[in-house]
Symmetry: C2
């Protein structure tokens, strides 16, 4: 499995992915699911992937080669805005489905992939998209300023309760790490290390690109601190008088 | 969908279920999924159900009529210990599968049901079982003192972090309501009112049997208090210095 989460707040974007892949419980590996594109002063994007690793790696390879869209072969460094960037990822997904979908179906395998694409290109605002295996996509909005792919359930309640578009990037990083930690605790197929990318509005570069390992002091303080904070929060709640 | 959770702690058992059923998102109803059996001084049991409502209601009806097991027609008031009670529920499940499974399969429907059975019968300890659609079952233990059926993911992190066998019944009620509230917030197909049953060790009666509605003061204090407590807990966590 996989867990990737993206936040779109007023200050910019926070993107966090795990690195665990598995072909059965007895075959677990580490692969980065975070791919970045940066042309400082012009654009900063990151693409996170979930699903069949052969599919998602091929999509990323195609995007680096260039994907045919509207009569031209384009890369994420060529498109003029984030909407076109999301369309380009969708076009790559459809191209991989054309190439590999039938062979996968013959083996009884679904064409299983999804993507979070966040970034900003000069002249436009930071935007965050979720691209489906059909190549279509949705965008985060002020009402729902986060998107998730993979194992989304364990880490969703804290986002539902705390995140708003006014959440700062610094707080957003803490929130995504709490959300990830809840997921890692409950689903063995999501695991460390993590890849974190932060894109500050109008920075037009990757403000943070960080690999977070078991030894990362900040991650440990979140992991241990959150367990303790939850227990304390729970201890302060009222107790029923009817038991 | 459904969410039911049971805790097995040193002081006894806490069982909580929602009441929402749906046949599609456009057909939502309220049905209790909590069934109790009480012979004060001798036994107190509660059965919670998830899955196809026609299946689970038939299982409960059969259990009230009596189910053939080891040459006798037995009810939950007849069995001598909780292990036999779990076997009896399993036998009822298998009987319903014999009657209805083929017709369901013809319609492309799975024989979908699961049960949490908690209780104590004089001479034995309080025990908590999860019975599967195949009629087999597992039991909560000191290592994992809770069991869930239905939409289990949203409400699991708080139980993973806080619950131990030393948790009191009073605290257990608060915990199950927090777990339920997290689920209700994230999954529309889980909803109020709730049914709560508490069985105190060696009480041999239902210590609490309570319908919890939107107007329930204690549930409201948990719901509002937990959101606030989570936000405060999160505000007190350290912030990253690398952003």
């Amino acid at each position: 499995m996989t867990y990737c989460v993206g936040l779109s707040v007023e200050e910019g974007l926070v993107l966090l992915s795990d690195t665990r892949t598995n072909a059965g419980l007895d075959n677990i590996s580490t692969f980065s699911k975070m791919h970045a594109v940066e042309v400082p002063g012009e654009r900063a994007l990151a693409l996170m992937t979930a699903g069949n690793l052969a599919v998602t790696q091929t999509v990323w390879n195609l995007l680096q080669q260039g994907v045919w869209m509207e009569g031209a072969q384009l890369r994420l460094t060529d498109v003029h805005d984030m909407f076109a960037a999301a369309q380009l990822v969708g076009a790559a997904v459809r191209e991989v489905n054309r190439r590999d979908g039938a062979a996968l179906a013959q083996q009884g395998l679904a064409f299983d992939c999804s993507f979070l694409l966040g970034g900003q290109i000069a002249g436009g605002a930071p935007r965050l998209f979720l691209i489906y295996s059909a190549g279509n996509f949705i965008e985060a909005t002020e009402d729902t300023p986060f998107l998730q792919i993979g194992e989304h359930k364990y880490g969703k309640p804290i986002l539902d309760r705390v995140l708003t578009p006014r959440t700062s990037l610094v707080e957003g990083v803490a929130l995504t790490l709490i959300s990830m930690d809840s997921t890692i605790r409950s689903n063995l197929s999501v695991g460390l290390p993590l890849d974190l990318t932060v894109i500050r509005r109008d920075g037009l570069r990757l403000a943070v690109r960080r690999r977070i390992t078991e030894e990362d002091g900040y991650y440990r303080s979140i992991r241990d601190g959150w367990s303790e904070a939850l227990r304390e929060a729970y201890m302060r709640l009222p107790r029923p008088d009817f038991v």
